[in-house]
Each structure stands twice: as C-alpha cells, then as structure tokens.
C-alpha cells in the first residue's frame, strides 16, 4: 500500500482553508444518524467527543479511569503554546510553525505543523470561554512565559496545573453533552480489540474492568485518543495506567505504527531512590531558568554534602559544553549530557541498580542573586513537591535530577485528516505520530491534542462519513463476535498461564524497562539494538510461560489488566528497536552513537532518511514491514540544529 498523506499543496498559509472548503459536509439532519466511538477522554478525546456531539453525532466515549476527568492529560504542568503574540515580541503563526519543524529536527509534515500553529490561537479562545483560569497580568489580560528554549513568550499557563485546567475545561464540555444525551460515557472500560471488516474500522471490544464482562460496540467510525506509550520504559513520568494496548491492538489489525523509536526523555525528573520505585516525577523544565546543573569533578565526592564541595571542584557541564544556551539547551541535549555524566561515573545520590543516577540542579546562586522569597514565589510548589518526595529542601541543598521517559512522538500513522491507513480509524493526540517529528517542544503536546480534538476531527469526520455513508454492522455480526472471541481466548490463555506462573507482571515490566533504557533510550547503537532484539523475544517467551495472575477473568482483576498491558509493551518494544536500528542516523531525540557531528551533536542524514517510517504488522513471529512516507520541506530549509 502506498501511503498518501492527503496533505493539500499550494501556499502553506491557505492549505487548511482550502482543504476545509474541499471537504464534504454531512447535512445537519443526517448527523444524528451516525455513531462515533471515541476511546480516551484526555485532552484529545474529551475535546473530540464534546465537539462532535455538539455537531449532532452520537458518541460513545470510553476510558479506563473511574472518571473521564482523570485522564493523564491532567498531569501536564508547564503550559500550552499559542501564536497569539499578545506579548508583541515577534511571535507569529509562521514562527511557531518554523520553531516546531526545526525543533522536530525536520522529521514532521510541514502541512500538519502549519495547521497546528494556525489553530493554536483558537484553542486559547475556546479554553478561556470555557472558564479555564489561565494566569493573568494585573491589567486583567492573559500572561505568558517562555518555555523549553523558545525565544518568544507564547506559553499560556495556569500555575503549574495547566493540563488539569485544560482537561477540566474539555471535561466540562463533555459533561454537558453527556447530560444532553449525546454522549454515552463508559468509564472503567478498557478497549482490548478493534473490529475491522472489509478494511473498515467498525467498532471495538471492551472489558468492563469492574466485572470482567466483554462487550462489542459498533459505530460508523472509531477515534483512538488513548495517549502515549512512554510506560514501555517502566519508569516514566506517565501515569501508571498509561498503556499502548489500544494502539497496539489496532496495529495488529492493520494500522501502521509510525516512528515508534521517537521517544522523548525529559531531563528534569526526580531520580529513582530504590528498587521499589514505581514511577518518576517530573520537575518542571522552567527550573532550568534559574537552576545550575553540575556534578562533582571527582567521583569520590558523590556522597559528600554537595554544599561543602567548593566551586573549583564542580563541573557545570552544560555551561561548559554549551556556552550560548548553557542550562537551557533543548531537552534531548540536556538528557544525554546527564546520562553521559552518570555513565562516566560522576553521578550523585543513592546507588540504584549499581549506578548513581542523578546530577545536581542548584539554586544557591539564584537565591543569592534574587533572594529566597523571589525564588520561592516562582517555584514554591515545585520545591514543596520535591521535598515531599525526597525529604530534602532545595533551598538548603541542591536538587537531584535525572532524565526519564516522558513523551512519545511516534504513534499510529495518520494522514492529514487524522485517519490511519485503516478506513474509519482516526487517531488523535499523543497516540498519533503526526506533528512533532523526532522531538517535541515543551508546551506543544497540549496544543496538539486540543487542535486535533476541537478543530480538526470535526471536519475530517464529516468528510469521511459523507463519503462512505452508514455502517450496517451490528454488535451481533460475525466480525464483532469473532473479535470478542479472540479477546476471550487471549484472556483465558493469560489466566491459564497465570494460575501456574510465579513471576509478577511488574517484574517483567521492570526488566523490559531496564532493557529499553539501556539499548533504546537516550542513546542507541546498532550492537545494543541487535542485542535488545535478541533479549526482548526471550523475555516475552518467559512472560508467556511464567507470568503470575491470581483470580479470574470475570471479576475486577488488576493483575490481569497489568499482564495484558505488559504483554503488548513486550511486542511494541521489539518494533521500537527495529525502527531505531533501521533509522541509521541521529535526529532529534533519536540519537545513534554512530552518527555524531564533530561537536558531539546529533548528525542527521537527510539524503537517506527524510521519511516517516510506517510499520506494518506482518504476523507474530515475522519481521515488521516498512513503508515510507517521504517528507518534503518547501518552507523551512533543512539545516542542522545548533544550540552552541
């Protein structure tokens, strides 16, 4: 199959307008005849469900938490970008577009990124009208800050809880439509299969997590808004329940998985403190505005009280290596530099798994320069959170930070209309691969999720439904019944092995995570990836031989839920390594040690790799098949990033 992006051509500023005009419409009276399934109620899913319900479609929405408002989007801290240029500091739609393409290291689709920058301004309008209490200046107008290395202030924020407030906004719109009877909401339901017939997505199979009951739901189209797969690394900043299951099931039903190796590791997280560690907590990137990163020059000082280490015995390695950007270099660069320091034996903090994985982020100079009060005003809540978790006060002793898996740029392949290669299967938000290329800029994920959900899907869904018409499949059709049977079988297999097995699903997950951090994490090389490609299948076999699951499939069973998710991560991990191995270049967050510029930075190979790698599943034990969508850069000239 050739991959058609369906992106319009011509003047980039007019592409979205022209495309909107060219798209077919469903007449208002007919909209109520169509049913659409939305899986996930994060920013992407809640906004999509609410907006399509307002238009008149009948929506069924699903999430695994006990309330749609608890989706992982709730945890986003820093902010959301928009090209409003309220600060008059030179921002524009074009500049946001330019920064995003460049930030993604030239591995995204120009048309998509431009549209994202365009609708970013509408998102802020919508959110404010819903009552999102963004930070304001004394004059009552909206405040902005600069974020993640941007040279303009375009980030809107609500304290350190921007994701929470935006999600509550989208959730309130969703709630209104639930009350209006236009959305049927299924909480604590997990999607375990996609129903496909004649190449068209027709519905999903879900498991009621409280009772274990399996149900088939059919519809005219399915939207997956199920978030990212960062938990493949076990320790990550994602919520514990974040998983790849929905996307992976769709992948196995034919949807291509694009750029799975593009994963972002966030530089400022609280390091693991022991083997019991279950997740890592993000400390907002804004801390790097005032904190200075360093490690002791002498590894013997690792356990010394850091405040007693004199200036000359410290290595401020970011300032040393990147004099122009210093502590504010982009995420991927900061992460790799921290890993290098620790790999070279300069890490600080407790030994976990035979290594000290931490570097200092020091506020002493900032406090001296500006006063403790001023620093607490800026970061007080983060300092409190840090102290709650570690027991240390960052005003007295430097913070310890270390990179952690945070965001996944890769995801299911979609065209300009957000539709996958499977007809009628749309993918929104972090679950798709679309707009961030090989690296996402800070405060751009919230923007993309809401752009997809509020402003893009409403058009492309109409266009699709007008083209294909009503779906006549019912929940008792053979395709739906077959899909339910397949899920039943999978669960009974797991339970059968699980009754005899002796290893907790978390133990497999931890092992997989370590493997992925080692071989497919912040930096990768061919040897390591090949090794991972040998070790992952072995681990998977052990899993299917010895995973322990107590209880049955017909009741609330968290071990079973966990095992099912780990099983899918074990398969995804292998695809990630295939992709990372195939992409024999460095770009953005994908750093191949074989491809380094003289100055130590990522070296792209535009001639051979300016493409999206979209992988087709070709059977459980066969190698995946690669399809390429080539990328063209008409507006932003291909150039090497430099932050020196």
């Amino acid at each position: 199959m050739t991959l058609k992006s369906n992106a319009p051509t011509g003047d980039i500023e007019k592409r979205w307008d022209k495309h909107r005009f060219d798209m077919k419409l469903v007449n208002p009276a007919n909209k109520r005849k169509f049913d659409v399934i939305v899986v996930g109620t994060g920013l992407a899913g809640a906004s999509a469900a609410a907006t399509m319900a307002e238009l008149g479609y009948n929506i069924k929405a699903f999430c695994y938490q006990d309330s749609p408002r608890r989706a992982h989007s709730i945890a986003a801290q820093g902010g959301i970008n928009a090209a409003k240029n309220y600060q008059n500091d030179g921002d524009s739609v074009y500049r946001l577009f330019y920064d995003t393409v460049k930030g993604g290291d030239f591995r995204s689709r120009e048309s998509n990124v431009y549209r994202l920058a365009q609708v970013s301004v509408n998102i802020i309008d919508q959110a404010v009208a819903q009552g999102v209490p963004f930070a304001r200046e004394y004059g009552g107008l909206l405040a902005n800050r600069s974020f993640g290395g941007a040279q303009v202030s375009r980030t809107f924020y609500a304290k350190g809880q921007t994701g929470q407030q935006l999600l509550l906004g989208a959730y309130s719109a969703l709630s209104k439509m639930i009350a209006a009877g236009k959305v049927e909401m299924y909480t604590r339901h997990e999607m375990l299969e996609l129903i496909v017939e004649d190449g068209r997505a027709r519905g999903i199979v879900v498991r009621d997590l409280n009772t274990g009951k399996l149900e088939a739901h059919t519809a005219d189209a399915v939207c997956l808004c199920t978030g990212g797969y960062g938990n493949v690394f076990y320790l990550s900043t994602n919520a514990k329940g974040c998983n790849v299951t929905a996307s992976w099931r769709a992948h196995k039903q034919g949807a291509y998985f694009a750029n799975p190796c593009y994963t972002q590791i966030h530089p400022t997280c609280i390091p693991p403190s022991g083997d019991y560690q279950s997740k890592l907590t993000l400390m907002s990137e804004s801390l790097r505005n005032d904190g200075r990163v360093w490690v002791p020059k002498d590894p013997k000082d690792a356990t010394k009280d850091p405040t007693s280490i004199s200036e000359k015995d410290r290595d401020y390695y970011l300032e040393r290596r990147y004099p122009a950007f210093g502590n504010l270099v982009p995420r991927d660069i900061a992460s790799r530099a921290a890993k290098k320091a620790c790999d070279d034996g300069f890490g600080v903090g407790p030994m976990v798994g035979g290594k000290r994985t931490g570097v200092y982020l020091d506020f002493a100079d900032a406090i001296k320069r500006e006063s403790k009060e001023r620093i607490l005003e800026k970061y007080g809540n983060l300092f409190e959170m840090y102290e709650r978790i570690t027991g240390d006060d960052p005003c007295e002793t430097p913070m310890r930070i270390y990179p952690a898996s945070h965001y996944t740029m890769g995801g299911l392949w979609v065209d300009y209309n957000l539709m996958s290669n499977v007809d009628g299967l749309f993918v929104l938000g972090e679950a798709n691969f679309s707009d961030h290329g090989a690296n996402r800029l800070g405060a751009s994920a919230l923007m993309q999720g809401l752009s997809d959900g509020y402003f893009v899907i409403s058009y492309s869904m109409g266009n699709y439904l007008a083209r294909v018409g009503k779906n006549d499949i019912k929940a008792d059709s053979s395709a739906a019944k077959g899909a339910v049977k397949a899920v039943e079988k999978r669960i009974s297999d797991l339970i059968e092995i699980g009754q005899k097995g002796s290893t907790h699903p978390d133990e497999f997950h931890r092992k997989l995570g370590t493997l992925m951090y080692d071989y497919c994490g912040m930096s990768r090389n061919a040897d390591g990836l090949k090794k991972a490609l040998e070790e992952i299948p072995t681990l998977r076999e052990q899993f299917w031989d010895d995973v322990q699951i107590l209880g049955s499939g017909t009741e609330l069973n968290m071990m079973l839920e966990k095992a099912g998710r780990v099983a899918d991560f074990l398969e995804l991990a292998e695809l990630m390594c295939h992709d990372a191995l195939d992409r024999d270049e460095s770009c953005g967050a994908h750093f191949r040690e074989e491809h380094v510029r003289e100055d130590g930075e990522a070296k792209r190979n535009d001639e051979d790799y300016t493409y999206v790698a979209a992988w087709e599943h070709s059977g459980d034990h066969a190698n995946p098949k690669l399809h390429k969508e080539s990328l063209e850069f008409e507006y932003v000239k291909l150039s090497q990033r430099s932050y020196k």
């Binding site: 906004s47 907006t51 307002e54 938490q65 006990d66 309330s67 749609p68 608890r70 992982h72 709730i74 945890a75 509408n122 802020i124 309008d125 959110a127 009208a129 819903q130 009552g131 209490p133 963004f134 930070a135 304001r136 004394y138 009552g140 107008l141 909206l142 304290k159 809880q161 407030q165 509550l168 309130s172 719109a173 709630s175 209104k176 009350a179 909480t187 919520a239 514990k240 329940g241 403190s273 022991g274 019991y276 279950s278 997740k279 907590t281 903090g349 407790p350 959170m385 709650r388 978790i389 570690t390 027991g391 402003f455 002796s502 907790h504 133990e507 322990q548 107590l550 609330l556 968290m558």
Partner: protein, 260 residues
C-alpha cells in the same frame, strides 16, 4: 539521604464487592523492611507483590498519576483521609512520615454515595453527576471570542484558580460526619461563578448542581470544616458560604431562570 527501613503493623480493609461483608486483615508480615523513601502506594505495591508470591489475592486500590493531581488515589489512613501529612494525597505520602513499628489501619473512603467497588476502591461517579447537572459554561466549539476580549482582574482569576484546583478525590466526603460533598460542589461552583464568563448561567448552575448533590445522597453541611482539613489541595470552606449565598439569591429572586 539514608537507606532506612521500617517494619509496620499493617491492617487493611478487605471487601469482595459492594454488598459483601468486609473486615481488617493483618498484613504485618508483608510489611517489614519498608524503605522510608518509598511512597505509601509503593509500600502497598510491595505488600501486594509479597502477598501474591504467597498466592494471596492482592489488595485492590485505585491510583494512576501518583503525582497528586488525578484524584484517583485515596484511602483513610489511621482515621484520616489521605493520612497524617497535611495537604498531601495518599500517593504523595511517603513512609518517612511513619515511625518504625507504627500501627497503620487502611480503609476506603466511606459514604453512602460512594459504594465500595472492592477493598479500598470506591465508586465516585456521583461527582460526575454533579458536574453534568451544570458544571460547565455553555460555549460551543468555535464560537468563542478572542481570549483577551474580556479582561479579568488578576484577583478574580487567581481566586477562581484556587477553587478550580480541586482534584475530585472525595476526601472531603470521607472526612465529613454528614458525608457531605459540599466542599467539592462549592469549589466547582466558585471556579465558574467567579469568572465573567460564568455569569450567564451562575444561578441556574448553582441550583442544579446543589440539587444533584442532594439527589446523589450526600449529606448537608453543618460547618464541621473537617473537609477543609482533609483536602489535599487546601480548598477553603469559604467557597461553601459563597455557594449558599448564590443559592439564596437564585431561589429568592428567580435569577436561576425560574419565574418566581
């Protein structure tokens, strides 16, 4: 940072389902050598892994973000919703708050309107019902004016944010002797009612949400203020007074859209 570990006397409430009987089980033998740097939920993870190694069904508890923001987690720990540390969710509570040998009783948030699903997990969907009754500003996607069209005094925006910070965990209900959700409802009302955008539906919203609160079976507020003490986000009971004022205006003046 030291590698201290503690042994606990741990008692956890076990209950198969909403209508099944439940009781405390002694899991002290699984709760030895717990690192003081572990979080409360990591302690439960550890206990669960050790229990399943013994073939015992693990304890069911709700959780997701483990960062104190999603509002999934929550248990009554030694009689206090979310445990002894002020303004801290269960997932953010760390074991250094407990002494070696400490006795810890863990049980679910209890309220008629929060039926127990299993063990420590409760059904809080009545909170969603309250929001569906009116916890929104009716604005269709695409119909919004420019975001800077209506300046909002920083004080109003900040006060609204203070209310909006509620994570919907339900600790307020568990803490209240009347099992009232007044703090939750009032915080949600204040978030929208204090903003210019929220004025058009202010009184109607107030009446409908308070009605939904009562219909869900939550009790009334009699000013014990236990909710404020238990709230992990430190939300003030002043918002309850505000909601009551708005309800009074709504009913007396008919500003809630009903003709008097």
């Amino acid at each position: 940072m030291s590698d201290d570990t503690i042994d606990l006397k741990l008692f956890v409430w076990r209950q198969e389902g909403p209508d099944a009987p439940g009781d405390f089980q002694d899991y002290s033998k699984y709760a030895k050598g717990v690192s003081t740097h572990a979080s409360f939920l990591e302690m439960l993870d550890l206990v669960n892994e050790r229990m399943s190694a013994d073939g015992e069904r693990p304890i069911v508890f709700d959780h997701d973000c483990r960062e104190g923001i999603c509002g999934c987690c929550g248990a009554v720990i030694n009689g206090i919703p979310h445990g002894p540390q002020k303004q801290t969710t269960t997932c953010q509570l760390h074991m250094r708050q407990f002494e070696n040998g400490a006795e810890i009783y863990v049980e679910p948030f209890r309220a008629g309107a929060f039926p127990i699903v299993k063990d420590l997990m409760v059904d809080r969907s009545s909170f969603d019902d309250i929001i569906q009754a009116g916890g929104f500003i009716s604005v269709r996607t695409g119909s919004a004016p420019d975001a800077n069209e209506i300046p909002i005094p920083k004080e109003s925006a900040d006060a609204s944010m203070d209310a909006a910070t509620c994570i919907g965990c339900g600790a307020c209900v568990a803490a209240c002797p009347n099992a009232s959700a007044s703090l939750f409802t009032a915080a949600k009302l204040a978030h929208l009612n204090m903003l210019p955008q929220g004025q058009a539906e202010r009184y109607k919203r107030t009446r409908l949400m308070i009605q939904a609160h009562d219909d869900a079976g939550f009790g009334g507020c009699t000013n014990h203020r236990e909710c404020e003490a238990a709230c992990p986000k430190g939300i003030s009971t002043d918002f309850i007074a505000r909601a009551n004022r708005d309800l009074l205006v709504a009913t007396v003046t008919g500003k809630d859209g009903r003709l008097v």
